[in-house]
């Protein structure tokens, strides 16, 4: 390197730091040190990648050039010999000229310089003007920036690529500040929310919680997850578009932390899941609807797999079994519905052969009561689904009603028959009884016609009477009369069936009637002969404050008496066991009073129970009863009072007479 000094010698001295005085002394070690420093400095400059050279502007000479300047710019001549205009490339000269003229504001300029192969090489040139003494010098630094430009280009391209993804991504992307402002959003995000551009969205949305979210609480909940977990995946919520319309989104959002670990911003990907959500909602709604349909059915519906394990369980099934659907699921159907145990072979056959199977009026005992069930098993027919549905309907009420209707129909025809028969029998009975009256009168001693006829034929009427007495003829006549009158009574009772209640109904207290009847039964002579009513424990279970019932008290009394007699007679038939007991119950049931007379007697077979109301049907030995008591009672209750009368009984379990009387009387 060459120093730009006016006087070479003086410059050298100064450069070496030698004064006039020290020069004369021993200067070598110091000189050597200075030369060594210079050498080091030169080596340092030579190693620099930038081309650096110094030129004297007045002389137009290059005073010094480093290695890079020599090799890259070709400034290879001896120092002080190279002329600026000749050696330095035109691009750099222009920069120097601009700087010298004061035109160029920027100290650094980019110029293209001819390269080795003739191709232009980009350089960055800076020119600094320096005054050394009185002379103006230019320190020029030129750096080859081709690599830097290439790197910049690569970066720019990479950035453009990512930008492209960002701009055209089919998902909404945004970054937001911890304070809750959008930093930037991509066009898809803006479009998703109904804004023309990202810029419009950024300008319009000032309150994310209210403008973007339907419910700000959803956003707060999401932010809580992010704070806790650092990210949130597939967070689904309802959002709002610019026009106010609502749609569903799913977010993947994460925290971006700065070097210090503080939250820098949030990055979030948003997709519109409205279509999926709507479909899901439709499916859920459809499922709910179907479940509702099945649950609303009064029938027990149970789905089973081919092994007979429960897959579905509706509400009626829950009510019926007392099991929850959750606890029933997966269990064997026989455990869940023990009443079905006997049907398993048929259930399996129905599933295997894919044919429905139905059984009607299955008898199941539940809490000591007989219930009837209709069971329908039908295999599932959808492809790929194996199993069956079991439908169980409790038809107890229907079976009972059918039974009652049958009973009532039977009784009605029997009633008609009885009425017809009664009429036919009354005529001959009239003949018998009236004939008897005539016979008695015409053997009497005080009838004028008798005396006259006797005198005409010379008969001693008094002697004839004595004869008739002696031969017990009057006793036989009494026998005819008694028999005839009894027949007349039976017929009259029979006619009670067909006689429509003409008597006026009046509100009456059933408990009072019952008490009166009990007193009557206790003193009933016929009853006392066979069974003392007073030995029976009478238990009263009467609901308090029962309303009065419009009825014919005398008829109801007759019914109660018949029922009590029937119970007492049943109790007389039993041998040993617990103390004979009749439980009387009265309670309000809807618009009726339900009256029960339950005995702990021997009970009866089903076939007896079904005929118990038929006239002349009796299980007692001849002479104990006419078999008309319950029939008449039945007609009084059902025909005259529009009530119902049923008998519940099983052998060994006593009998329960159930009477229902409408409170308002006959409709």
């Amino acid at each position: 390197m060459q120093g730009p000094f006016d006087s070479e010698e003086a410059d050298r001295r100064r450069l070496m730091g030698l004064g006039d005085r020290s020069f004369k002394k021993s200067y070598y070690p110091e000189l050597r040190k200075r030369l060594f420093d210079l050498e080091r400095f030169r080596a340092l400059l030579d190693r620099a990648g930038e081309a650096i050279f110094l030129c004297d502007l007045a002389g137009g000479l290059i005073l010094d050039a480093n290695e890079a300047a020599r090799s890259r710019l070709g400034l290879t001549g001896a120092p002080g010999t190279l002329r600026l205009e000749v050696a330095v490339p035109a691009g750099i000269l222009e920069v120097i000229a601009e700087v010298v003229s004061g035109q160029a504001a920027a100290p650094v300029r980019r110029v293209a310089l001819p390269g080795p192969g003739g191709a232009a090489v980009p350089f960055e040139v800076s020119v600094a003007l320096r005054m050394f003494g009185e002379a103006r010098h230019a320190l020029v630094v030129a750096r080859d920036i081709s690599e830097q430009i290439a790197a910049e280009e690569a970066t720019r391209q990479a950035w453009a690529k990512y930008r492209d993804i960002y701009e055209n991504a089919p998902v909404g992307i945004y970054r937001s500040t911890p304070a809750g402002r959008y930093i930037d959003v991509n066009p898809r995000f803006a479009a998703m929310f109904g804004y023309v551009s990202a810029e419009e969205l950024l300008a319009s949305v000032t309150d994310i919680g209210r403008q973007i979210w339907c419910d700000p609480a959803d956003r707060e909940a999401m932010m809580e997850i992010i704070e806790r977990e650092g990210e949130v995946r597939e967070y689904e919520a309802k959002n709002r578009r610019a026009d106010g319309s609502v749609f569903w989104t799913s977010r993947n959002k994460r925290v971006v932390r700065g070097a210090g670990g503080d939250i820098d911003c949030f990055e979030c990907f948003v997709t519109d899941v409205t279509a999926r959500k709507t479909a899901e909602e439709k499916i859920i709604k459809a499922q709910k609807h179907i479940k509702n349909i099945i649950d609303s059915m009064p029938s027990v519906m149970i789905g089973v797999d081919p092994e007979g394990r429960v897959t579905h369980f509706n509400q009626a099934a829950e009510r019926d079994t007392g099991l929850s659907a959750a606890s029933a699921r997966g269990r064997d159907i026989r455990e869940v519905l023990p009443g079905l145990a006997g049907q398993m072979a048929r259930v399996r056959a129905a599933v295997a052969e894919r044919v429905p199977m139905a059984t009607e009026k299955n008898v199941v005992s539940r809490e000591g009561e007989i219930h009837y069930q209709d069971v329908l098993v039908y295999p599932l027919v959808a492809n790929g689904v194996e199993g069956a549905v079991i439908r169980v309907d409790d038809v107890t009420d229907r079976v009972r009603i059918e039974e009652m209707m049958l009973q009532s129909e039977k009784m009605f025809s029997l009633g008609g028959l009885a009425a017809g028969m009664a009429h036919e029998i009354n005529n001959p009975l009239g003949g018998i009884l009236q004939g008897l009256q005539n016979v008695r009168r015409r053997v009497a001693l005080d009838l004028p016609g008798n005396l006259e006829a006797a005198r005409e034929i010379g008969l001693d009427l008094a002697a004839m009477r004595r004869y008739l007495e002696r031969r017990e003829v009057f006793r036989f006549l009494d026998g005819i009369q008694e028999s005839g009158e009894r027949a007349a009574r039976i017929v009259s009772n029979m006619l009670d069936f067909s006689r429509r209640g003409e008597a006026r109904k009046k509100p009456a207290d059933l408990v009072e009637i019952m008490e009166k009847t009990i007193a009557l039964a206790s003193n009933d002579y016929d009853l006392k002969k066979r069974f003392d009513f007073r030995q029976i424990e009478i238990k009263r279970e009467f609901a308090p404050e029962l309303p009065q019932v419009a009825c014919v008290a005398a008829e109801i009394e007759q019914v109660f008496l018949n029922v009590l007699k029937n119970a007492a007679q049943a109790l007389a038939e039993r041998a040993g066991g617990e103390k004979p007991r009749i439980v009387l119950r009265m309670a309000k049931e809807l618009d009726n009073i339900r009256i029960e007379v339950e005995d702990n007697g021997p009970g009866m077979e089903e076939k007896v129970r079904k005929r118990i109301f038929e006239p002349f049907f009796t299980t007692k030995e001849p002479g104990v009863g006419t078999g008309l008591g319950l029939s008449v009672s039945y007609f009084i209750i059902t025909q005259n009072h529009s009530g119902s009368f049923t008998m519940e009984s099983e052998p060994g379990k006593g009998a329960n007479c159930v009477i229902r009387l409408p409170i308002g009387g006959a409709s």
């Binding site: 009425a419 009664a422 009429h423 036919e424 009354n426 005529n427 001959p428 009975l429 009239g430 003949g431 018998i432 009884l433 009236q434 004939g435 008897l436 009256q437 005539n438 009168r441 015409r442 009838l447 016609g449 009369q481 005839g484 009158e485 007349a488 009259s492 006619l495 067909s498 006689r499």
Partner: protein, 124 residues
């Protein structure tokens, strides 16, 4: 004078005999038609009428007999428990207290009823 209309022979004969013993003049008819024919020849005060009859029934007989003989009064003697006289018979004094349901073991009640009618007729 009493007319007994009944198709049941034993009832007809017995009632006839009883009323005869009681001092009434009794005519017997086994049907409504026979009764009407008899009334054409013979005036009567009271007719004891069965309801179920071959040919015209008791009600019909009463209508026709009344047209023929407006002074005739009626008692009913029937086997049907449900019988109640039509309202139009009320003007003939034929109400439920003049209805007797068979069997009537003591015929004195019928005789009494006839007497009451006859007495009523006599005392205007």
């Amino acid at each position: 004078m009493v007319l007994v209309v009944d198709d049941e022979e034993m009832v007809r004969e017995n009632l006839g005999a009883y009323l005869d013993d009681e001092g009434f003049t009794v005519f017997l008819a086994e049907s409504g038609e026979a009764g009407l024919a008899l009334l054409g020849r013979q005036g009567c005060d009271v007719a004891v009428v069965d309801m179920r009859l071959p040919g015209i029934n008791g009600n019909k007989f009463i209508q026709e007999a009344n047209a023929q003989n407006p002074g005739l009064r009626f008692l009913i003697h029937t086997g049907s428990l449900n019988y109640s006289p039509p309202a139009e018979f009320a003007r003939l004094g034929l109400t439920s207290d003049r209805v007797f349901i068979k069997p009537v073991p003591d015929m004195s009640v019928i005789a009494e009823a006839i007497r009451r009618i006859v007495a009523g007729e006599e005392k205007p």
